[in-house]
């Protein structure tokens, strides 16, 4: 019997669904069984339905200057309970270590004194902000939300690719992907135990409220957005809506006497926590870029004075610099006295003596990344680059060794993805989202799985034309609550419905009123 998986040829990487050609991994058995009998035309139809639903709901992203529906592939990415337990422990550990590093970098600087991390890493970082020095955030939290990017290597091991602790985005797509899948493809979930993802907004709000300056009984939280033209505006609006808080733009806020207020029809109302979705540079023209018109003048002073909490904290960029990334395993050992659960990808630091030459020599076999790049920009994949690009990269690295790191290329794991009329392997990554409320780092079950839609492409960012998948974490069993037996009797009787005329002409009406 021919089916959409017929010509599925494994790429040179770990495949999420198939152990070997034709041999499916246990977690995927039900999904494969549900997908196999479906005609390609039917899958297309559902994919189109999905795209229409996303367009209607405004779940779009800007690609090459036009609004496109968020691309969601129909085949979910599945993590079993054991894999997930491992990932969430690793992610939470990483966030705790970075949290400790930030507290140290903007405080006593022990790690630099002890030689764990060189001073120049801090002082040479464009994201080191004096203004943040000595600010004691409530609950000691600077990373209220983190997005830690993971990849799965050839051996099937998860590794951290990069940390995002400034303004990580994408969580709205996790929520929307699940919503779309349950509505467009309900049969796929039959008999599966997939952990829900809709608890995120409540967790986030709790963490933000917990981060409010002390002395506020009922803190007011707002989401600060650059505005509707921002690529992630949909996400800002969604989070504000689901948390039931105001979505504000810079000019809706006003700072006076080191306090932040928002302008409302009932006068100015104090604001205590600002979940800001814009970068440090644009936050406050008095402190950072003076030409920023989307920030709020004076908000930084209010934060330094402890009258408002900014989430995430200003200056977090020193912790997700790609060069610092190479030190994170050491930081985990140093601050937490634990062994790293999730390993890094093997990396070189061109700014260290001796390593620059090694990098320049084998640049055709390495992946070179600017330490400051976002959205997959500026990455050069040595084995796939032409001589001219390699030469240009070589010169760039030699001129600014602090500006780059180099990594061993990892063949990202693949997952079956609908390409035209059939399934083909495409490379994927995973961005789990963590929320830190000061007591506990909670990791949203699953996260955002991004797909590189071009064959062989290793860059999955949506700004580069990537797609996404719904990410399932399979539950082990009921976490709480007594087992309910089916013979607990019937539910209570609620009164029967009232009936009125059903509009059929009189005369036929006798007996036509059915319950």
């Amino acid at each position: 019997m021919a089916d959409i998986f017929d010509a599925y040829a494994l790429a040179d990487a770990w495949d999420e669904m198939f152990e070997r050609p034709g041999e499916v991994r246990t977690a995927y058995e039900p999904v494969l069984a549900a997908l196999q009998p479906i005609e390609p035309g039917e899958l297309r139809f559902r994919a189109d339905q999905m795209a229409r639903a996303f367009t209607d709901r405004g779940v779009t992203y800007a690609f090459a200057g036009e609004e496109r529906p968020w691309p969601l592939d129909l085949v979910p990415r599945i993590l079993d309970a054991l894999e997930w337990d491992f990932i969430q422990r690793g992610v939470s550990q990483r966030v705790r270590a970075l949290e400790a590093y930030l507290a140290d970098a903007y405080g006593p600087c022990r790690a630099f004194e002890d030689g764990v991390v060189p001073w120049r890493l801090l002082l040479g970082s464009a994201h080191f902000h004096r203004a943040a020095h000595g600010v004691e955030p409530p609950g000691g939290v600077r990373i209220h939300v983190a997005g830690i990017d993971l990849v799965r290597d050839e051996a099937g091991d998860f590794r951290v690719l990069e940390d995002n602790v400034r303004v990580p985005s994408g969580v709205s797509y996790v929520i929307e992907n699940r919503r779309a899948m349950t509505r467009v493809f309900p049969s796929l979930f039959d008999g599966q135990h997939v952990v829900p993802v809709d608890g995120y907004p409540a967790r986030l709000l709790a963490a933000l409220r917990a981060a409010a300056p002390e002395r506020t009984a009922d803190p007011r939280v707002v989401v600060l957005t650059p505005g509707p033209s921002n690529a992630a505006y949909f996400e800002h609006a969604l989070l504000a809506r689901l948390m039931g808080v105001q979505l504000v733009e810079g000019h809706d806020l006003v700072c006076r006497g080191n306090r932040v207020w928002m302008r409302t029809t009932r006068g100015e109302v104090p604001v205590h926590v600002v979940y800001r979705r814009l970068d440090d540079d644009f936050l406050d023209p008095l402190h950072f870029r003076p030409d920023s018109v989307i920030g709020c003048p004076g908000i930084m002073s209010a934060a330094v004075a402890g009258n408002v909490t900014l989430a995430n904290a200003v200056g977090n960029g020193v912790a997700d610099d790609k060069l610092l990334y190479t030190y994170v395993p050491d930081l985990i050992r140093y601050y937490l006295s634990e062994e790293p659960i999730l390993p890094n990808v093997e990396s070189f630091r061109p700014d260290e003596p001796g390593q620059l030459e090694a990098v320049l020599d084998q640049i055709d076999r390495l992946v070179v990344k600017p330490v400051d790049g976002a959205g997959g920009q500026g990455i050069v994949i040595g084995p796939k680059a032409d001589a001219k690009t390699l030469e240009r990269t070589r010169r760039a690295v030699a001129a600014d060794p602090r500006g780059f790191i180099a990594q061993r290329p990892v063949a990202l794991s693949t997952s079956p993805t609908l390409a035209g009329e059939r399934m083909a392997p495409r490379h994927i990554d995973l961005r789990p989202f963590a929320v830190n409320d000061g007591n506990d780092v909670w990791v949203l079950p699953g996260g955002l799985t991004r797909v590189a839609l071009q064959e062989g492409n290793l860059i999955v960012n949506s700004s580069q034309g990537g797609g996404s998948k719904d990410t399932w974490v399979l539950a082990e069993g009921p976490a709480e609550g007594p087992a309910r037996s089916a013979d607990e009797g019937a539910p209570p009787a609620v009164a029967p419905r009232q009936l009125g005329p059903d509009g059929t002409p009189a005369g036929v009406q006798e007996g036509a009123q059915q319950q």
Partner: protein
């Protein structure tokens, strides 16, 4: 000169409003439940389906029930006005029998909806019921939007709104009743909120958490949310006071009594009073609906023709 309204027409208008609201609420409840079933890894399909039957006042029978059966009985069954299709069919026929009282736009909306259901029903068999439920909800909104913008605020309008409001209270009370009387079969609070279309409004008032007393309080007592029991009762009472003349109006009295009780209820006392309150609400709505029937559209028994020499 249309300063009066036939009893028969008034009845048809009331039930058109009621049935469209019923279809709308049923679609929302089914959607919320379906979604929860797919999203909750530890669901028990039979229990969840039974609580749906209980909410909608339909007998589930002794055998295990599943979601497909629920849809067949509570969405696609054209013969029962407790199902979406049956309610919309009855609304359409009622509107047709009151063709000169409802605007053409309203009638066409109901008629087109009725004809569009078959396609969506077939698609639902293939890809799941979401598109079907979505159609029902958007058309119900369109219908009431057209009523709002094309009907004069005369008695015809009041009967439509009265029907809608009574059904609204009834539905909200049903949802809460199953939750309060029997936690084992009950939907969780977030499901309950989305089944009432109240999740976003609730989040704005309380922040995104649904806990017991507050959700019940919101769905019963919130003054500003149109589907709360208090809001719908107030609307129903306004319609009745504009329609009625006698001071001791048997249709208005039970509703007015409960409205004041809700208005002045202590929130802390709500939780313990909830079971009794829900029962009284249900009783009041029924009593009021019966009194409306008696007063505005008194029924003659059907004429029975006797065959000569039979």
């Amino acid at each position: 000169m249309n300063d009066v309204i036939l009893s028969r027409i008034a009845e048809a208008l009331t039930w058109t409003g009621r049935y469209v609201e019923r279809a709308d609420a049923t679609a929302r409840i089914l959607d919320a439940y379906l979604h929860r079933m797919l999203e909750d890894p530890w669901r028990d399909e039979d229990l969840a389906c039974r609580s749906l039957y209980a909410i909608l006042g339909v007998d589930a029978g002794p055998d295990p029930v599943d979601m497909q059966q629920v849809l067949d009985q509570l969405a696609f069954d054209a013969r029962s006005t407790c199902s979406i299709e049956g309610a919309l069919g009855a609304a359409r026929l009622n509107a047709r029998s009151a063709r000169e009282a409802v605007s053409s736009a309203m009638w066409e909306c109901l008629n087109a909806t009725w004809h569009a259901l078959a396609d969506q029903r077939r698609a639902a068999r293939r890809t799941g019921p979401y598109g079907y439920l979505e159609l029902v909800r958007s058309r119900a909104a369109l219908f009431f939007g057209l009523a709002d913008s094309t009907m004069s605020r005369d008695d015809s309008w009041r009967f439509v709104v009265l029907g809608r409001s009574l059904e609204r209270v009834d539905m909200t009370v049903r949802l809460l009743s199953v939750r309060v009387l029997d936690a084992a079969h009950a939907p969780d609070w977030p499901t309950l909120l989305s089944a009432s279309g109240a999740d976003e409004a609730y989040a704005r008032v309380y922040g995104g958490f649904g806990d017991t007393p507050r959700v019940a309080e919101f769905l019963l007592l919130d003054r500003d949310f149109p589907r709360s029991a208090l809001h719908a009762l107030t609307t129903a009472e306004e319609c009745l006071s504009a329609l009625g003349r006698p001071r001791q109006d048997p249709a208005r009295r039970p509703i007015g009594r409960l409205r004041t009780r809700l208005e002045y209820l202590d929130s802390p006392a709500l939780e313990e009073q909830l079971p009794i309150l829900l029962r009284d609400l249900q009783t009041a709505c029924m009593a009021s609906a019966e009194a409306v029937t008696e007063r505005f559209f008194p029924h003659q028994g059907p004429v029975v023709w006797a065959q000569e020499g039979a």
